[in-house]
């Protein structure tokens, strides 16, 4: 089984480093700036099936560069990434989620708030997170640096995609 998964998020939230230890990549990071996307691949066990996640690591959204919506086409799932130490990245992630939903419709997604290792510097408080969770959005707090929860984030999304 193969699934296309888009990774979206603001600039420098750690999308690339988030997946680095788990993925297989043959392309250099240059593609982010040139083509706006870099394709990576990781395999996740969902039940007793191996699922190949074809990760479309999209260029970080910022005020100068916007996500190419055509890259979202055909995605089975999305991972929105925010940086816990920058509150506005959460807004960007949620905004991107809306844009993606408008573009490709309802697909399973998760919200990953990265940089858990810097939790004492976080701007996003627990209350906000709980509110988001209440809306039915799965939120996973990870640390790309230590690798905490990263694998679980992929597994949760994979399960959601397989259930659909």
């Amino acid at each position: 089984m193969k699934k296309k998964v888009c990774m979206l998020g603001a600039f420098a939230v750690g999308k690339t480093s988030l997946v680095q230890q788990y993925v297989h990549s043959i392309f250099s990071d240059k593609y982010h700036t040139t083509v706006g996307v870099k394709i990576e691949k990781t395999t996740v066990m969902a039940g007793d099936t191996d699922v190949d996640l074809i990760l479309w690591d999209l260029h970080g959204e910022d005020e100068f560069q916007h996500v190419r919506l055509s890259y979202l086409k055909g995605s089975s799932g999305c991972i929105y990434v925010a940086d816990g130490t920058r509150e506005n990245t959460l807004a960007t992630a949620l905004n991107l989620q809306q844009i993606a939903q408008n573009t490709i419709g309802d697909v399973p997604f998760i919200l990953v708030i990265n940089k858990q290792d810097l939790i004492n510097q976080w701007e996003i408080d627990k209350k906000t997170i709980d509110e988001i969770k209440k809306q039915g959005i799965p939120v996973i707090m990870t640390s790309a640096k230590t690798g905490d929860e990263v694998e679980r984030a992929f597994t949760i999304l994979t399960k959601k995609m397989m259930e659909k």
Binding site: K2, I26, G36, I39, K41, I54, R68, S70, G74
Partner: protein, 578 residues
Amino acid sequence: MSSKATDSHTLNSLKDLLLKPEQKQIQRIEKRLDDPMIRANEISNALPDAISLSMMGSDKLPRAIQPVIDGSLKISVQKNPKAYADAIFPALGPGIRKAISSTLMGMIQSLNQALNHSFSLNGLKWRYEALKTGKPFAEVILLNTLVFQVEQIFLIHKDTGIVLEHVVAKDAIIQDPDLVSGMLRAIQDFVKDSFSTDSDDDLETLRIGSNRTVWIEKGEHALIASVLRGTPPLDLRIQYQELLEEIHLKSSIALANFDGNPSPFAFYREPLKDGLKSKAKTDKIKISPLLLCVFIFIFALIFYWGFTKYQNHQIWQGYIARLESQKGLILLSTKKKNRHYYISGLRDPLAHNPDDLLKENEKRQIFITSHWTPFYSLDPKFVIQRARLILAPPSTITLSLSGNTLYADGIADQMWIEQFKRISVTLPGIDRYNDDKIQNTDRHRLVAELKALSDMRIYFKNNRSRLVKGQEDFLNQVLQKLLVIQTLQSRTSLSVQIIIFGHTDSSGTEKLNLKLSRNRAEKVFNYLLVNGINPAFLTLSGVGTQRPLANEKTLDDRRYNRAVSFKTFYINSIRGNL
């Protein structure tokens, strides 16, 4: 009777009571069934779901309605063709454009190949093949010459970019197909977003370096991307397009509902593998005889050219060497321009003709333009030669040169000697002359003539100043001699004096004899004078008996003294040789 009626009424009431709801239901159903409007309304609500359900199950419905659709399409097109033309134009236009451009590409490709192979042995073979099969010659060439290899073929799901199937040629080096396919898809989107305005314009061909190409065939739900090396025939592309069409036809549902599971497409592995075509380069390099002939001809031409060039160079060098070794020729410059050789220099008129230094066959081989400026060579050989030419010495004279002095040795007449003295010093290379060894012939002759004259006698009659008969001839001889002497004298530097002595015999008185002798001398003198002898040479003297010419032993001896004799003198007026 009344109970019967009551019973019937009761039954009806009971019936009503029991069956009324059902009856109402039946009435409603009847109404629904009878009223076409209600039925149409219901069917219209159920139809979409029914069709969807039917599509999910089998292809029964499409099969059933196909004739209806065909028929209605036909009627509709007949009724309003323009609407259809308008509708299909956007779809047809790009297709036609694409077909034309790919045909043109193919034509250019075949033209190139045809030009390259028109004259080879294979070319002839292929012409025969084209004739036999009825295929265009260019196509036959293309089929036989293209060298290519299809390295990999991807069957890619269009929206997700996920690889549905992937085949690789045996020796191709590949990267992870999922990643490559994803990126390829992304790049396609990127290119389309960035450069294309038309929704049908897509990235169709990627060129990597000069030898590798990626062809992307686009279908509604899937793509076939083929990675090729070399120059593949465009037919192959059509094959891929056909395969893609077939895949869409057979698996349109699976493609439309693709959920990430590529296993249903494993079926296309074999057809895709069929697309992994290649054509290897023929190892044997065959050279057509015509080409070989051309090569040999060119080689021969080059060889001939080289050899001629070498030969010409040799001739040229030899000629230059010969010119340089020649006396009287001085080379100032030599140069070669194209096939022409140019020489300029100085040439003594007496030097060897430079043209003669080239052999006849050499003259035919190289073209030499020479410019010679005349000059006088001071080489002794030329100085002496020039002296000989200008002075024209008689054969009795030998000229020689020592340093800058010209020596003449031998016998020459005075005139030449004068000329020698005058001219020799004006000749280039000669400062002085030496005539010490020249013997002057005129002097010799003059001296000889004078001597002969002094031996001559003219005899007179006894006691008279008249010539003895027959002496007139002698007198004339004397005259002739003197004329010669006079001429020779004028040509030499000798100053000549001739004394005419008149003699008498011993008979008679001294006084008479002196007078008589003088008369006799005068007689000769006058004769010579009137006959053109310059009197300046001549002196006359009557010596009587004082200088007897013979001893008068007998009387008869006296007649030898009755005569005129000549005494000659000469002195050098200037330095000269005798």
